[in-house]
């Protein structure tokens, strides 16, 4: 069920990217899209009644049923790349604010 809802969350992010004209709102929409995508990628590795993919002294054999570790590893790196993208986008937005004095894309005047 969370898989359908994560696709809906991605669609909310796309809607924000299409309809907003404020730079901060655009970056927030990009982040919402990214969170939805991360939940979707983790959900395609979920196994019903599976264990978390860590061997401990309680669940000590690899013959038990674990969830898929590969999508989780991909998402772990994707989250860290996401903070890099957000920081770069916000630095660009701040630079544009300094020259134009506004975050609204419609109110900026071209040279």
């Amino acid at each position: 069920m969370i898989q359908y809802l994560s696709i809906a969350l991605m669609l909310v992010g796309i809607y924000g990217l299409l309809s907003q004209r404020n730079m901060i709102k655009l970056i927030v929409s990009l982040n919402i899209f990214e969170i939805g995508l991360n939940i979707f990628i983790v959900s395609i590795g979920f196994v019903k009644d599976g264990l978390a993919p860590i061997l401990t002294s309680n669940h000590n054999s690899s013959a038990l049923l674990y969830v898929d570790p590969l999508p989780q590893a991909m998402v772990l790196t994707a989250i860290v790349i996401g903070v890099g993208i957000t920081a770069l986008a916000l630095a660009l937005a701040r630079k544009l604010y300094k020259t134009h004095g506004t975050y609204e894309l419609d109110e900026m005047e071209g040279e």
């Binding site: 969350l9 909310v12 992010g13 924000g16 404020n22 919402i32 969170i35 979920f46 957000t86």
Partner: protein
């Protein structure tokens, strides 16, 4: 239908509602706070999908550092005498 599935659906629907609120709200700082709430709810859904590593990372980075960077951007670009 177990209690965990109900929690899963409630968390997912709450994320979508907060997403729409974050996009349509007027003040920028409210938009950033709603984004932080979505991140926090995503941590719950990662835990329900048995992904503790991803949940820890999302809790530290998604709802902590990203929100801090957004707030600093709004704070350093506000006009004098204006509240963010």
């Amino acid at each position: 239908m177990t209690i965990l599935q109900i929690v899963e659906i409630v968390v997912g629907v709450a994320m979508i509602v907060f997403g729409i609120l974050a996009i349509n709200t007027k003040k920028l700082i409210n938009s950033v706070i709603f984004l932080s709430v979505i991140s926090m709810l995503a941590v719950v859904s990662f835990m329900l999908m048995r992904a503790p590593d991803v949940a820890i990372t999302e809790a530290v980075i998604g709802s902590g550092l990203v929100t801090a960077i957004f707030v600093f951007t709004l704070y350093t670009t506000k006009k004098a005498g204006e509240k963010i």
